[in-house]
């Protein structure tokens, strides 16, 4: 195990971030990843880890990542919902770790959903 002293330093840093977040409650963007058998088989785990990694690297303070079960569209997995407060939910399909960077940069940071990755773009074809 890496040293718990190291964890203590990270804990203090994280605590500051949590306190900052509490001041603007309601502004939190949620990323929800499908993690049932279908999602996992299609590659949801590396997608989830890529989101965590990207959020960590960019130091995004207002984003949470969570999981959900199967919503019945297994052929479109891995699926990810991005819910920005005050905007419509956006559902991304056939996600991959490579696509995560663009979704974070363009949608979560800059507020413009990546239209070509969304369920609308795929289902219209």
């Amino acid at each position: 195990m890496k040293s718990l002293a190291e964890l203590e330093a990270i804990r203090k840093k994280t605590l500051n971030r949590i306190n900052l977040r509490k001041e603007d409650e309601g502004e939190v963007t949620r990323v929800v990843i499908g993690m049932a058998t279908c999602g996992i088989a299609a590659g949801a785990r590396p997608v989830m880890l890529a989101f965590m990694d990207e959020i960590n690297k960019r130091g995004l303070n207002h984003v949470t990542v969570s999981q959900t079960g199967c919503i019945g569209m297994c052929r479109l997995e891995p699926m990810v919902d991005v819910i920005v407060p005050g905007q419509d939910k956006v559902t991304y399909v056939h996600m991959s770790p490579e696509k995560v960077g663009r979704v974070v940069a363009e949608h979560i940071v800059n507020g413009r959903p990546v239209a070509e990755y969304t369920i609308g773009a795929v289902e219209d074809k």
């Binding site: 195990m1 203590e8 804990r11 058998t37 785990r45 965590m52 995004l60 969570s66």
Partner: protein, 184 residues
């Protein structure tokens, strides 16, 4: 599923759904190359009737559909790799799933990204249940327990990205030397 760690991630969701307080995972590789994966929980358990048909693809507790493929797929992959899957369960006490594979078999799946699986489980379920992990191989052993981490964190949640990164990195450092090879 492409590797064993993905099966583990999938099957441990069953323990979480069964409202377990503690879910224990152990991954043991013996000198002969026999790999044993044990998932044990203290959740709701299953009746004998459910247990008798749980390996069927047409057994599931969910209401949206009539199929559940997690256990049957893992059972088939164990069987192909010269091993098997068994489940013991007591209603109200919990469930223990044991999967055995011979790593010398050409059909044995690679172990895959076990640190990624455990990090995913821990960060997606930051409050409960508690997870423990034990890995043992002829090269050594390691142990991990979310209760120890939570004690050190004093209330800071496990799903904070920086904490998740630390967990993943420290698991990687400890698990990779035990099982070697390429982690997908």
């Amino acid at each position: 599923m492409r590797d064993i760690s993905l099966h583990i991630l999938d099957l441990m969701q069953n323990s979480i759904r069964a409202q377990a307080k503690v879910v224990s995972l152990s991954v043991l590789l013996d000198e002969k190359g026999l790999l044993t994966v044990v998932i044990e929980d203290d959740g709701t358990g299953m009746s004998e009737e459910m247990l008798s048909r749980v390996a069927s693809p047409f057994a599931t507790t969910r209401t949206t559909r009539k199929v559940g493929l997690g256990i049957p797929m893992m059972a088939e992959n164990c069987r192909l790799a010269g091993g098997g899957l068994s489940i013991q369960s007591t209603l109200g006490k919990g469930t223990k799933l044991t999967a055995v594979m011979d790593t010398a078999s050409i059909d044995c799946l690679p172990l895959g990204d076990l640190p990624g699986t455990v990090t995913t489980l821990v960060t997606m379920n930051p409050d409960k249940p508690e997870f423990t992990l034990t890995c043992r191989s002829p090269k050594g052993e390691m142990a991990f327990d979310t209760r120890e981490i939570k004690e050190a964190l004093q209330g800071v949640p496990l799903n904070e990205p920086e904490i998740a990164a630390w967990i993943q990195e420290s698991l990687r450092e400890e698990i990779e030397p035990l099982f070697g090879g390429v982690i997908l």
